[in-house]
Subunit: 383 residues, 2 copies
Amino acid sequence: MSVTKPKGFRASGVTAGFKDSGKSDLALVVNDGPSHAAACVFTSNRCKANPVLWSEEVIKDGEVAAIILNSGGANCYTGAPGFQLTHATAEALATELSISSGDVLVCSTGLIGPLFSADKMLAAVPNVVAALSTDGADAAATAIMTTDTVSKQATYDGPGWSIGAMAKGAGMLAPALATMLIVITTDVDLAPAQLDEALRVACATSFNRLDSDGCQSTNDTVALLASGAAQISPDLAEFTDALSSVCVDIALQLMQDAEGASHDLYITTTHAASEADALEVSRSVARSNLFKCAVFGNDPNWGRVLAAAGTTTAAFEPHQLDVAINGIWVCKDGQGAADPESVDMTPRKCEILIDLKAGDAEVTVWSNDLTHDYVHENSAYST
Amino acid sequence: MSVTKPKGFRASGVTAGFKDSGKSDLALVVNDGPSHAAACVFTSNRCKANPVLWSEEVIKDGEVAAIILNSGGANCYTGAPGFQLTHATAEALATELSISSGDVLVCSTGLIGPLFSADKMLAAVPNVVAALSTDGADAAATAIMTTDTVSKQATYDGPGWSIGAMAKGAGMLAPALATMLIVITTDVDLAPAQLDEALRVACATSFNRLDSDGCQSTNDTVALLASGAAQISPDLAEFTDALSSVCVDIALQLMQDAEGASHDLYITTTHAASEADALEVSRSVARSNLFKCAVFGNDPNWGRVLAAAGTTTAAFEPHQLDVAINGIWVCKDGQGAADPESVDMTPRKCEILIDLKAGDAEVTVWSNDLTHDYVHENSAYST
């Protein structure tokens, strides 16, 4: 009941046969209106997958009637046949739904390079339409999973309106965005430009603060579809706050299911001169393989935190820095303080706090440790 | 016979007791002149270890008579006692050698945070001086090892003059520099400014193109000491070429002994619009954990190469890129070409070639794969 919680939406998930496992791999979310207002945020990677290239055109008029998503293949670097398949998929779906293909977003996720079967895709389109239902959210959320071990869904209840979201993403998690496909539905009545503004704010403080492994995807898409079926136009700030809370909820679910991770890292930089400084320092720590290996080994290695901070341009005096790990100040004024042995590193949640003593800004970046299982999963993924 | 190969140098290595293993951990290289011209390059990390802060002052007059180096502790983020120990070490050595402490470089390497014993250091200074010998190069090179499995040394024979080098470094290898201590000796007679110019050129095309794990150290120091004992002043361009070849030799030795690595990556970006573009693309691939895990799994995953290239600002058309792995063009014009199964990934040496089709510049960055052993070694290092 995530993406079908708001009024005006149906969803489905079926098996097209792209995955060797035989698990479901094709999802559809349809906006029955009356409004078809929509907004999207796409990966900033310059090497974009074919469905991203297609969807960037579709969203230009701010109208989306349906979004179709497949797992089992990214359709990226597949050349002209890949773009043709994206186009043909949108056309086939448009015909089935009696809508314009120019209102159909397409998303794909999986391995880059190989192209999945066009025949299987086109044969499955009528099936995924036939399966549409107002309680199809779980089926849709399951069909977009790749290495995810659980489906990710979230909802929000506003006064007379609601938001629902589903997501997939477990590896290649980094700004911007975070290797994921996310569909967010709502029954509010807002214009495309308003949805776009709200979505950009929400992404900046949620998905763009998630950096699991520093790798940026070719297929990332966050789509926000508004049906207007609630016949309510909430205050934009109120809606943006609600949307942000849904996006943070989903971002934390992505972190908690990141490939091979044994710790969730909450890396907070506080008393920074600016939000940009705080973000740079937290992200730098989130990118330190050495620190992330140390966390995997339950080692509160604050020296590696400082070494990462030292690579940034943020305003701070190196010898005034404080670092706390799980609430213990292991470094004060640039020197060892509390005994690292006193830090309990066994919980999955690990909180790192870096005090720059340079201002009032604070940012938390979410990440994961670097583990044997991460290496294993990503060394064997395509074989 | 590395750092003592050039005329005018003595070296030694002894056990001061910083390492639990009891292995040697204190090295000394003395320049007996007649010239004491020198140049240094230090880490660009803003969080610098105490010996780096000291040595930055020492090198300002371009004169160095001795360099003392310890393993078993980085003396970084150790506060005032740490800087005082660096100072006291230089003073003690200066007294023993009847030189000025202002001509003594100090280097330390090991864990950040804890401070090694001042008593052990000061007790060992007379011993390391007593052990000085014109064939002490091996002993010195051995005493600076940390997680290195082999000592790194290199030499160059010029007409009537020579260069010798020793290095340590196995983890935290990234620009700039590459988590290492490197001492280079030569008996040429060149002025400090000439040595500085040559050293910066040599570092730019050697150590700064090594990026094993993206992590930047707090202690990196490359010191070049010239005794003038050969009484020859070679052409600066000729000397720079010779110095560069020694630095590349050492950089490749560092790569080949990187912690836990099972592949050495030679990531070449060719036909770039500029050297900066080529460097950015190669370095971006060198920073992709996902690609580096794939190589560990003997998977020629070119999609991850393109995903990394797509995060750069280099001039190229995403859909015109070619990628070869170990000589096989697995991607041509942005699409899969040769069967990845035909790529032999079993050799330790793995060559990645990215053709941007945008110009004439070419750069190779050296890196390693991301392995179980890397995670293991860096999760257990401080415990």
